[in-house]
Amino acid sequence: MYIFSAQNITKNYAAHTALKNVSIDVPEQSIFGLLGPNGAGKTSLIRIINQITAPDEGELFFAGEKLQPHHISLIGYLPEERGLYKKMKVGEQALYLAQLKGVSKSDALKKLKYWFEKFDILDWWNKKVEELSKGMQQKIQFIVTILHEPKLLIFDEPFSGFDPINVNLLKEEILNLKKNGATIIFSTHNMSSVEELCDNIALINKSYKILDGKVHEIKNTYKANIFEIGYHTQDIDFEKILPESFKLNSVVKQNGISKATIKIPLTASTNDLIQNVISKIELVSFNEILPTMNDIFIQKVNEQKHIA
């Protein structure tokens, strides 16, 4: 069951096309990474999901229904370009934004108290926003985004402006939200957080979707049969002990341990590699090097560059 699905979305602006035939399906109770370089069309897609703008072509579905204005109260959006009214008091402002999402005043008050207590920021309630640091403001914004308990949350670069401690706090909360039934669309450049958090991703580049799927499947698809062997450093020409078709990528020596990365041919198995080297070296570790999302991202974007 998809909580949100977009089919063949096309969006044109006066001078350029922001999205061309983009389709995404976001499974319920998952974290969906929306990736892509700057200007790829991510924000356009997010604005379409939020009904800030309408697509020129294509259809949108929310929990199986056609996307409609009343779904706005079921969506929470933390934009990349975000801010608060600087002169307004924190509590007042949080209350206002929650009410705009359709939460009743008393309900909003109750929930805000809960979250402010949880984040230990109750004493900010009567402060003006301009008195708070950027990180503090981001916290308020996070609370406001999730306060109306939306089914679908959209975070655009949520970690920018946070210190590592708060990044962890935030990650925890995001995973909590998922556990409690929410679905999260997560737009970011921060690939390590993608690997950590996302179940699925879609990669958008130059208004086209160029890759999507489950994170672990994508990583398996893009693995290059590269393995790393760790051994006690000794004077040995590694290249000589490897069979012809095996390729030594690099050897790094550090603290008496050497690490060699080797690409083996698709026809060979890991056992072939170990058999060849086991008699020559004192083995410490052996593991497969999977491509990081970062590598895949760069590879795919560059591929498209060459095509274009």
């Binding site: 006066a14 800030i52 969506i75 959006y77 933390l78 801010g83 009214y85 705009l100």
Partner: protein
């Protein structure tokens, strides 16, 4: 609708709670009350006492002049001695009435003084002399009884007070003043509150809260909420101004009745009622005649109608321009960039203010008519015309077109607004705006 209400509420409350709003609200009425009260104070402000020597060869005027706290008449006989006194500065003027026939040609009366005597003093003396002479002629020369004389005089009272020409003259000045004043006030209000809308939009854009908000409400709702909220701020300010102005004036009238007594005693203004005989004449009356005309003029205006019209033209004029101000705010990233787009908005308003001087001279002419019909100038020009009386069908036409104009500019501005608020870091040109209109 509920969301618009929330937005209106926020926009309204965040503004009326500001210090600047409170300061403006207090200062405005003080200024307005000052405009009202200053004439009264001027009226009671006493010049130094003047002594006028009267040398009357005819004997008609002997001891007929009424001395007041400002002018003292002393009756002398020797012209040369008085001239001496005048040069020494003991007296301020000599009124020399030569013995001639009853008709007294103009040359028969001379007023000597070292400084040129005030026009008020002059008109007082000549008026007094006329009355005295008339009295003398009627009672003494024609044997008319005291009762008859009073009757005659009371007939002339009505003629005096309802003289169309004088009445109209004084009120024209009042109406001119009031027309220009309300025109400028509208201009000032449109700019002040229009700029508030613009700054509000820029604030939302630069603080980047706008995207958070328009994921909850439509851009049009946000824009209208802001415009309506600021309009209510304007109305509140205006209402408070009127309320405070009247309460300040009332409070002052109560606490210092002597300053305002002139106003209540309209009979003082009618010389006849106080002048069964010449010695009843008061200098005060004439000295303050102009001020009193001003005051009477101020009282002659139908403020209910004026205020109602003002509120309509302020609101509709503001609404017409506010959406344009909002779209300017949306098109730029900071206030410094607004300059290039302000021109088309400023020019019609400025033009209206400049033309209001022309309109005031011919409030029923074709220029006045057209400018008070065209929506972009009508809020100001119509306000200038209203004190002079405008045919009702013209007012309706102007109101209708103004509302139509407001709908049109809002529709136009909303298109620029909804695109503009999501554009960051881009210097926008007029061509760009044109493109946004066609999205």
């Amino acid at each position: 609708m509920k969301k618009i209400r929330l937005i209106v509420q926020r926009e309204y409350l965040s503004r009326v709670k500001k210090k600047s709003f409170i300061i403006m609200t207090v200062l405005g009425p003080l200024l307005m009350a000052a405009i009202w009260i200053v004439p009264f104070f001027l009226a009671t402000m006493s010049d130094e006492k003047k002594v006028i020597a009267v040398i009357d060869e005819t004997g008609i005027f002997y001891s007929k002049f009424q001395s007041t706290d400002k002018v003292f008449f002393s009756y002398e006989t020797e012209l040369e001695k008085s001239k001496d006194d005048l040069t020494k500065g003991n007296i301020s003027a000599i009124l020399y009435v030569q013995k001639l026939t009853y008709t007294i040609p103009d040359q028969a009366v001379l007023l000597y003084s070292d400084k040129s005597p005030g026009i008020v003093t002059q008109s007082y003396i000549s008026n007094a002399m006329q009355t005295i002479l008339k009295n003398n002629l009627l009672v003494n020369a024609h044997n008319i009884s005291k009762e008859d004389y009073d009757k005659i005089n009371s007939t002339s009272i009505k003629l005096n007070t309802e003289d169309i020409r004088t009445g109209e003259k004084s009120y024209t000045e009042i109406k001119t003043g009031l027309g220009i004043f309300s025109g400028i006030l509208i201009y000032f209000f449109i700019f002040m509150f229009g700029a508030q809308v613009m700054r509000g939009v820029i604030e939302e854009k630069t603080s980047r809260i706008v995207e958070v908000i328009i994921s909850s409400v439509k851009p049009f709702q946000l824009m209208m909420g802001k415009i309506v909220g600021v309009a209510l701020v304007g109305l509140t300010q205006f209402a408070l101004w009127i309320l405070l102005t009247f309460s300040i004036i009332t409070a002052l009238q109560m606490s210092m009745p002597e300053v305002f007594k002139n106003k209540q005693s309209e009979e003082i203004y009618n010389p006849g009622q106080k002048l069964p005989s010449a010695d009843q004449l008061q200098l005060q009356t004439l000295q303050n005649q102009e001020i009193r005309e001003l005051i009477d003029g101020l009282f002659s205006i139908n403020y209910g109608v004026m205020i109602a019209q003002f509120i309509f033209y302020f609101l509709a004029g503001y609404l017409l321009y506010a959406s344009l101000f909002a779209s300017i705010g949306a098109a730029v990233d900071n206030e410094a960039d607004t300059q290039q787009f302000m021109m088309p908005v400023t020019i019609p308003l400025l033009f209206a203010i400049i033309m209001s001087n022309f309109v005031i001279n011919n409030p029923d002419g074709p220029v006045a008519f057209w400018l008070s019909i065209i929506p972009f100038t009508s809020p100001i020009i119509m306000m200038v015309r209203i004190p002079f009386g405008v045919p009702i069908e013209q007012i309706y036409l102007s109101m209708f077109l103004l509302i139509a104009g407001f709908v049109f500019t809002t529709w136009l501005a909303a298109k620029i607004y909804r695109t503009g608020i999501l554009m960051y870091g881009k210097k926008v040109s007029y061509r760009e705006l044109w493109k946004w209109l066609k999205y």
